[in-house]
Symmetry: C2
């Protein structure tokens, strides 16, 4: 049995392209439709209620533009607060990035490990990683640090040198004295992975960095009926504003050129 | 003749409180109603069309909540692209921050001076300062540098030390070799004025820094019928999301405590 429908992916903006990249790598035959809500990015500083409203808008917009077989929430802030609301909004399976990230952190350590997450203010405030880890049997210490400057650094491409090192150092200084795993709890942070790993090795030697993108792709692979054998995936990108940002910012996040012929400007459906 | 109605002020978020601060200082008897579109901030990376739509939404929302006698656009990005549209949207005088800022720059120099503006991507892309300066008789060189990291630095309160110095240095390095005036073309930047002035003195000695907030307040004073003599201004603040940010971020921008009893969460009117 096969299913040629696309996998739908949405994010507040361009950051979720790091998750799309992992999805395309893990599932090369699958078609994808990505929606970036670039008219209202970022979500990390918004209230939970507003994030839920925007997430439902996005899900409805994506479903209106494409017949998808699953919906991947490629945004930690949305995954932290809106998965239940999204499961009531669309009729297809919904996969977020937090549970796969938490599973990956446990796989890299143990149920008694000290696990810290770096994320947006919204993700940190939600406590979603600690709650999910506990539900998966984790009994160790957890910590969460909001890192607001990492998103603009990643978007500016300022990912090496003294400034990102000092910024990362300041955020890492808020971690517990001993940490086993640090989860990159925002889709922008993989662009800063080198500097985060290097500074973490100095600040908290022996800890490992986990990014949930690959684990999310595996979670999606487990639940979707695959595309027909030998299918070549087709890929669309929808944005709610400023499509040209996909040409300038997109490649660093996608790890590949963005086909601008496949980028469409759409109106977001405001019905919540 | 007097007019007890409020002066309406709107901004994409909290940044415009630096303009509100100047307005309150210049016009202590006037009442004000400030709207911060915190559900959709920031505007600096949005397309001009989206900024115009949001600006019209905000103007209609403000007018729906208060009978205002003038509308002050306390956001450079909006002032750069949306003043004409706003003048068609509301029946009261509309004052932006760019013409007052440009006048202040000319007053601080001459019509042949080299004048540079630091601003958001949207403000820089619009060319609004250069166009306005030319209309005011300026014939010298102009330059504009987008400084995306200054907004998150200001909002994080990271306004002194090595990181803001290095970030400011990088942006100042994009200025022409000789500059007479640097305009702070974003309402967040006054929070970084000390570091900008200090690094500019090193990078481009002899140049002066101009912030348009006080000049905007003077421009408003010239066009509004004043409040009754001996009136004590009353002040309301409306936000479209996350009112508690006014308590955490507001005071640094307003230069005074924010009366949270006067802060109201409102729905933005989406009719464009």
């Amino acid at each position: 049995m096969s299913d040629a429908r696309s996998i739908g992916v949405f994010d507040s903006g361009v950051g979720g392209l790091t998750v799309l990249r992992a999805l395309r790598a893990a599932l090369p035959g699958e078609s994808t439709v990505y929606l970036g809500d670039t008219a209202r990015v970022p979500y990390g500083t918004r209230s939970a209620q507003t994030v839920i409203t925007y997430a439902k808008n996005n899900a409805r917009t994506l479903v209106a533009h494409s017949d998808v077989k699953a919906l991947v929430v490629a945004c930690n802030t949305v995954s932290a607060v809106a998965l239940d609301a999204l499961r009531e909004t669309v009729a297809v399976p919904v996969v977020g990035v937090i549970e796969p990230g938490a599973r990956a952190a446990l796989l890299a350590s143990s149920t008694t490990a000290t696990i810290a997450v770096l994320g947006t203010q919204g993700t940190v405030r939600s406590g979603a990683y600690a709650r999910t880890l506990a539900a998966l049997g984790h009994t160790g210490t957890t910590a969460a640090v909001a890192c607001p400057l990492l998103v603009p650094l990643a978007e500016e491409g300022w990912t090496s040198g003294t400034v990102p090192e000092l910024v990362v150092d300041r955020y890492l200084s808020e971690l517990p004295a001993r940490v086993d795993v640090v989860i990159l709890g925002c889709t922008h942070y993989p662009l800063l992975q080198d500097v985060i790993c290097a500074r973490l090795a100095a600040a908290r030697p022996g800890s490992v960095v986990v990014d949930g993108a690959a684990a999310t792709a595996r979670a999606v692979a487990e639940i979707v009926t695959p595309a027909p054998a030998a299918a070549a995936g087709a890929h669309r990108i929808l944005v709610t504003d400023a499509p040209q940002q996909m040409a300038t910012l997109g490649p660093a996040f996608l790890g590949a050129p963005v086909n601008m012929n496949a980028v469409e400007l759409v109106d977001v459906l405001m019905t919540a």
